[in-house]
Structures are given as C-alpha cells and as structure tokens.
Amino acid sequence: MKTPRLSPQTLRVLERFVERPTAWRYGYELSRETGLKSGTLYPILMRLAKYSLLETKWVTTEDGVPPRHTYRLTPNGVELVRSTFANSRVSARSALKVRRPAFSGGKA
C-alpha cells in the first residue's frame, strides 16, 4: 500500500488529529496548533484526503458566516497513524538500545 510521504510537518498534523480521532477540526485551528502556515498545512491536508486518510465536510457554524471546511481522520487514517506512531516509538526505543553501550562509555 502506497502512503503519503510522512514529513515532520505531516506527522505534526497527524499528532493533532490522533489526540481526538473522532473530532472534526478546522484548518485555521490546525494551523495555530501546529504552527504551520496555510501554504504548508493545506497541501498536507489535500494529500491526506487524496489517499483517503482524511475525510472532509462543510459545516455551517453561524448564520451569515460562510460554511467552514472541517477535517477528520478516516478509519484508514487512524490505523495508519497508530501504526506509524507505534513503529516510530519502537524505532526510537531500539535506537536508544543500540546506542546505550556507546553512551555508557564502557570499553568494548
């Protein structure tokens, strides 16, 4: 299965989604939380949507204000994020294990 390239910025966005997987999020809200500008955030959202990892919906928040585009992870997206973060934790732990002797400074 081909998945989008998970850049640090994409991971940052996914982290926000994974905190509340069922909640619908706004673009500007995500931008503030991740610190990403619109020019970086939206290509990520578009790419996630292209691979069906993200679902989108228009919602009307109040009268007279144009509807807002909202985003939420699809089940595929949630699964991918969990596996990605799980793998990254394993990788981080194994990296630490490999490096520990070196950090201990013991003689080989």
Binding site: K2, T3, Y26, Y42, P43, M46, W58, H69
Partner: protein
C-alpha cells in the same frame, strides 16, 4: 496611510483570483481557505494566510497547465460537485490573455511603437516597401512631408525634404523651390549636392552660392569638381592631369585663398531639428540620416589633395630658384587650407600627406632663415598630422561601423521584432484552429487540444518576453533621439545612426552587390540556434512523456 482593513480586502481578492485560475478539483480547497479567512485574527495575518493559500492554488494551476485533462491526478474532494476533473482551460486562458494584454499594452508607449517600427525596417529592403537608411528608394513619409511643405509654402521643410530625396530631379526641384521661398537657404545647393545635374544647372547653383557667401571656398570646390568631371568625360586632356587645366587651377586657387571653408552642416542640423520638431516627426531613420553626410563634394576633396600636392611641388621649384618668399606662400596656402578642412570636418586624412609636407617644408625654410622657434613649431605640427589623421580615421570607423553595444542592441531589436511577429502569427493560427475545430465563437464552447493550448501559451509568453526585450533594447536610442528633437543635442546621433544602419539589415544577412546575402558568420549562429531549438523541443517532449508514463500512486485499500 493604509486603511486597517485593506490587507484583509487584498487577502480576499487574492484568494478569489487564485480560486478563479485554479483547476476545478481544487476549488473547494480554495473556498475552504477563503472561508477560514473570516476566522483568522488580525488583518495582516489574514493576508499571510491568503498568500500561502494562493501559492498552493497557483501551484496546482501551473501543474494543470503542464498536465491538463486526463493525465493529471484529480485531488479527491468531499463535494461530489468537484469529484470530476474539470477542463484546465481557465488558467491557460488567464495566462494567455494576460500576456497578450500586457504585450498590447506595450504599444501604448510611443517608444515601443517606434521600436517596433525600427524592428520592421529589416523587411523594408526585402519587400522593397520604403526607404531604407542609407540606400535610396522611395519613401512615402518623405513624399507626404514634401507635399505638405509645398502646400504650406514651408521653405525649411522643403529644404529638409530636398537633401533627403533619392531622386536627383525631384531633389533639385525641391531645393530650387526652397531657395525661391527663402534666399537665406541658398546654402542648400551645397548640401543637396550637384550629382546628376547638367553642367549649366551646376554653373547656375555655384554662381548663386558664390554670390550668397563669397568668402566660402566651398562653391569654388563645386566649380572645380564640375570642371574636372566635364574634362574627364570629354577626354579633353588625360585623366590625372587636372592641374594643367587653367580653369580648374583658377577655381582651386580661389578655394585655397578663401578666408573660410564652411560645409553648412551646422545650419543643416539646426534646420533638421526645427523641421522635425515642427512636424513632430519621430522617425529615427529620418532624424539620423543627416549623420551620413559630410558636406563636401566627393571628388572635390580628392582634388584638394591633388592641388595641394601641385602647390608643394611648385613651392619646391621656387625654393630651388631661391624665391623663398613665394615658396613660403605656397606652403602656407596648403597648411592653411588643411587646417580649415580639419575644423569643420573629419577629412584631414585626405590632406594629411600634403599637409605634413607643407609643415615640413615650412619648418625647413624657417631653419634656413635661422628662425629656430618657428622651425620647432612647424616640426611639432608636422608630427601631429599623422596622429590627427589616425584619430579621425578611428572616429570615422566608429561612426560608420558603430560600437559593439549598438551591434548587439540592433541584433536584439531585430530578433525580438521577428519573435513578436512569429508569436502573433502562431497565436492567430491557434485561435483560428480552435474556432474552426469547434465551429463556434463562444468562449465556453471552445475546447482547445493540449497541443493548441501549449502552443498558444508559448506564443503568448514569447510575445510578452519579446516585447519587453524590444522595449529595453531600443530605450537608449529613443533617449538619444529625444535629446536631439527636444534640445537639438546631436552628440548621440552618430551612435543612433550606427544602430539604425545595423537594424535595417535582415537578421543574419549582409548587403552585398545590391542584394542581401546570408553572412557566413551567421551560418554558425543559425546552426546553433537550430540545435538549441531542437534540444528544447526534445526536452519538452521528454518532460511530457515522463509525466504521462510515470507510475501512478495507489490508494490504500
């Protein structure tokens, strides 16, 4: 001061424009960014938000241009309305229309219109349309000016046309009319020349010139030239023995004894400036055509040297006979005439040999008489002659051949003019092709193929770039012309003249034996130009093929 809400207004306008040019399948993403603007805190933050969003949409618009239609992956959308791939015409049309509009806007600038006319001059000689600079052929604009001047009884405008008219009979007629209206323009007879006139007509003009400006030696030079030409053609005496003709000798002697030698070019430059300003003529070819003249009778200049040499020889004979005073006068006459020639013209080198000889003989005579200061003075003058002549030769060379900068600018002007014509023709062909193919003139019904769209896009961008290059390349020469027209400052006219001389040659050709031939050095240029074009096309095809055949991403199951 900028209104507080201005950045937000700009942000909204920017995103709306970006949505307009963006492909259909990204419209809801564009609207998403646009609607989020209502919630962005701060007007400047809204502008930054909009800039980022517009950048994303612009990128998609460009990708849609390169890979329109079925070869581009559709970005999935939540809205069913945008699920299908829309036609990618809008961004292409927007770019094409913007480039064409910008190219046409250039034509609003008088400088650009002038530059475009100059760039077309290379075709005049090919299609024999009108006068080409320096090569006489009919010129409708000059015809119109002459008619207008005759109608207005404007002596100066008639004089302006007279010196430029290629036809000798018409030139003589206009000159006569101008002098008749204003006898102060009698000097026109000297500037308009005497070529192709009958001997009696030359005599009449020379006589009028002598009466009008008796102190000027120029009229005697014209008279001497006429005698020389008549004698040569009638074979009354062998060619090269002019100095044995008493009438010729008398006229040359009068010329050498004249207190001044004025070729009237200053008067002509002033008249040109007045006429160009009065008739608001901004044709650079006309304005700079005065630079081609030097105001002396062609053969007269050569005959001066001949007569000066004979004076030196007779001076040496007198010196040998012990008549040093008469010899001194002969040498002095040569030296004085040579100095007069160098004041108003750049033709000292024609006289450099006799002039140097005269200074040397004067120095030798002064030495003989024990006047060491005078001998040293003449010696120094003799040394200066060669340097002055060499300097004048270099000046003339640069005046007629122009600088490297003017060559390059003339090349750019011709190339960009050619490119504008090519792009316009290509664009027209694309439009006609689309209209014929779709049997409609309605914009919505027009569905250009990818190739047509790409060609139209290239032609529009090429036209804009060529227009910019043409404008920038010609701008300095327009400034030189304006300086002459507004202030009468002709210091840059020789540069303009050299530039125009190059600009009228069809690109990659040279004038030879009355026709344009492809220069051998330009064959190399054409070879590499063709190679570059072929490489660019090959690269374009390779890029297209790459995008068409690259592996598609698979969506997760």
């Amino acid at each position: 001061m900028i209104p507080a809400a201005a950045p937000r207004s700009v942000a909204i306008a920017l995103l709306r424009f970006a949505i307009w040019i963006a492909p259909h399948d990204t419209h809801d993403w564009g609207h998403a960014m646009l609607n989020e603007l209502n919630h962005v805190e701060g007007n400047w933050s809204a502008l930054i938000w909009s800039l980022g969003g517009a950048g994303v949409l612009a990128k998609h618009a460009i990708v849609a241009l390169i890979l329109p239609g079925a070869h581009r992956r559709t970005v999935s959308s939540a809205s069913e309305l945008f699920d299908k791939e829309g036609p990618m015409r809008k961004p292409a049309f927007a770019v094409i229309a913007s480039c064409v509009a910008a190219s046409l806007l250039f034509f609003l600038a008088p400088v650009f219109r002038q530059a475009f006319r100059v760039s077309l001059a290379q075709w005049h000689s090919v299609f024999h349309v009108k006068q080409s600079f320096g090569y006489p052929s009919p010129d409708p604009e000059l015809d119109a000016l002459a008619k207008k001047a005759e109608h207005n009884q404007d002596a100066e405008a008639l004089a302006y046309a007279a010196v430029r008219y290629p036809d000798a009979v018409q030139r003589a007629h206009l000159a006569d009319e101008a002098v008749h209206l204003d006898p102060n323009l009698t000097w026109l007879y000297a500037v308009a020349g005497t070529a192709y006139l009958s001997p009696s007509e030359i005599d009449r003009r020379v006589s009028l010139l002598k009466q009008w400006d008796p102190e000027n030696g120029l009229s005697h030079l014209f008279a001497a030239q006429k005698i020389g030409a008549t004698a040569t053609y009638s074979k009354g005496f062998p060619l090269g023995k002019l100095e044995q003709n008493p009438s010729w000798e008398k006229e040359m002697d009068a010329a050498f004894q004249s207190p001044k030698l004025d070729n009237y070019l200053d008067r002509q430059n002033q008249l040109d400036h007045r006429v160009l300003s009065r008739y608001r003529l901004d044709d650079p070819f006309q304005a700079a055509s005065g630079e081609e003249r030097y105001g002396f009778p062609n053969y007269g200049v050569w005959e001066c040297s001949l007569y000066a040499q004979s004076l030196l020889e007779s001076g040496q004979t007198l010196e040998a006979q012990g008549d040093r005073k008469s010899a001194f006068e002969k040498y002095s006459a040569v030296a004085r005439f040579g100095q007069m020639m160098s004041i108003d013209s750049e033709l000292t080198f024609f006289m450099s040999k006799p002039l140097k000889g005269a200074y040397s003989r004067l120095g030798a005579l002064s030495q003989t008489e024990g006047n060491k200061a005078a001998a040293a003075f003449y010696g120094a003058l003799a040394d200066q002659v060669d340097k002055t002549a060499e300097r004048e030769r270099a000046l003339l060379r640069s005046r007629f051949s122009g600088s490297e900068v003017s060559h390059w600018n003339a090349f750019l002007v011709r190339l960009s003019g050619l490119s504008i014509l090519f792009c316009a023709a290509l664009l027209l062909l694309c439009v006609l092709g689309v209209i014929v193919r779709n049997h409609s003139l309605r914009l919505r019904s027009l569905h250009p193929s990818r190739l047509t769209l790409a060609l139209g896009f290239g032609a529009a961008v090429g036209s804009l770039l060529s227009s910019a290059v043409l404008f920038v390349s010609y701008w300095p020469y327009s400034e030189l012309l304006q300086r002459f027209l507004s202030k009468g400052d002709d210091s840059g006219m020789s540069e303009l003249s050299a530039f125009l001389r190059d600009a009228q040659h069809p690109i990659g050709s040279r004038f030879s034996l009355g026709t344009w031939v492809v220069s051998s050095s330009m064959t190399v240029f054409y070879f590499w130009f063709a190679i570059t074009i072929l490489c660019a096309l090959a690269l374009l095809i390779a890029v297209f093929r790459h995008f068409q055949t690259r592996q598609r991403a698979h969506l997760p199951a």
